[in-house]
């Protein structure tokens, strides 16, 4: 199962946007990367006060897409270009306000592992519980997998 992690400002990207973006991301994933691989898209809603780009708030939208190792660069660039164009068209956000990436799965896993390594054992349990509860609740109430970056909120 591959994953896409989207970190967005909820004041700029609504749930209606998110659902349209999910369709576009899934369509592009099937077209460029894999038609058979199952895909999970997770949304992190970052409050305005907690994100900075070039010293200023809010942070740009941040998208990390997991792909197979040693992906051909032309395929990667086509995927990035189409996803970026769709993102801009759906949300009205300019391309300058989007950082989008396609990581080989080895580096994607390393990045996720770094996020776990910073935590104590209790921290890992708390974070796992936070994610499970947040994602289940948001799926039932909003039809999307959404979590807050703040544990306990």
């Amino acid at each position: 199962m591959r994953k896409i992690l989207c970190t967005v400002n909820p004041e700029q990207v609504s749930d209606v946007h998110k659902k349209s973006l999910e369709s576009a991301l899934r369509s592009n994933y099937a077209k460029h990367l894999s038609e058979s691989e199952s895909l999970t898209i997770v949304w992190c809603e970052l409050p305005t006060a907690q994100g900075f780009t070039s010293y200023e708030q809010p942070c740009v939208s941040l998208v990390v897409i997991e792909a197979q190792d040693d992906l051909d660069q032309d395929v990667r660039e086509n995927m990035l270009s189409e996803c970026a164009a769709d993102w801009s068209e759906i949300t009205g956000i300019t391309l300058e306000r989007l950082m989008i990436s396609v990581f080989d799965e080895t580096v994607f896993s390393e990045y996720m592992a770094a996020n776990q390594r910073r935590l104590s054992l209790m921290g890992r349990i708390q974070f796992s519980r936070h994610m499970l509860v947040s994602l289940l609740r948001s799926k039932m109430t909003r039809g999307l997998l959404i979590f807050s970056p703040n544990v306990g909120s």
């Binding site: 900075f52 740009v60 989008i100 990045y111 104590s120």
Partner: protein, 126 residues
């Protein structure tokens, strides 16, 4: 890219967040010569961190180009010192880890990012 994720035990005041964000951006740009428009800093709180840290930073930074092992080590040490100062925390209460990501894997402003050290051409052609 870079993307610095700052995890904290408790929410930082907005004043400290701004100070930490500014020092991360300044330090990254001074050490690597990258332009500030590339630098993203996000804060998260409520985390039980290992080693009694109060603050843990993960930096996803471009690798390759002019980024030697020495430069990356210098970046990590400078960030550690400067974040401690900006956050008013002892240096041993802060953890930092950098993860290298190829520039060609990332798109900003609709364009693939340049190799580290080739930013000027990229910005002029933007």
């Amino acid at each position: 890219m870079p993307l610095y994720t700052v995890s904290c035990r408790k929410p930082l005041s907005q004043e400290i967040r701004e100070a930490v964000s500014t020092t991360i951006t300044d330090t990254h740009c001074e050490v690597t010569d990258a332009p500030p428009e590339f630098v993203n800093v996000v804060f998260m709180d409520g985390y039980s961190l290992k080693n009694s840290w109060n603050l843990a930073v993960i930096g996803g930074v471009r690798s390759g180009g002019n980024r030697s092992a020495e430069l990356v080590e210098k970046l990590q040490k400078s960030l550690h010192t400067n974040i401690a100062s900006a956050s008013k925390l002892p240096i041993d209460k802060i953890g930092i880890e950098l993860v290298g990501v190829r520039a060609s894997w990332v798109m900003e402003g609709g364009k693939i990012l340049p190799e580290p050290g080739s930013e000027n051409d990229w910005l002029q052609n933007k």
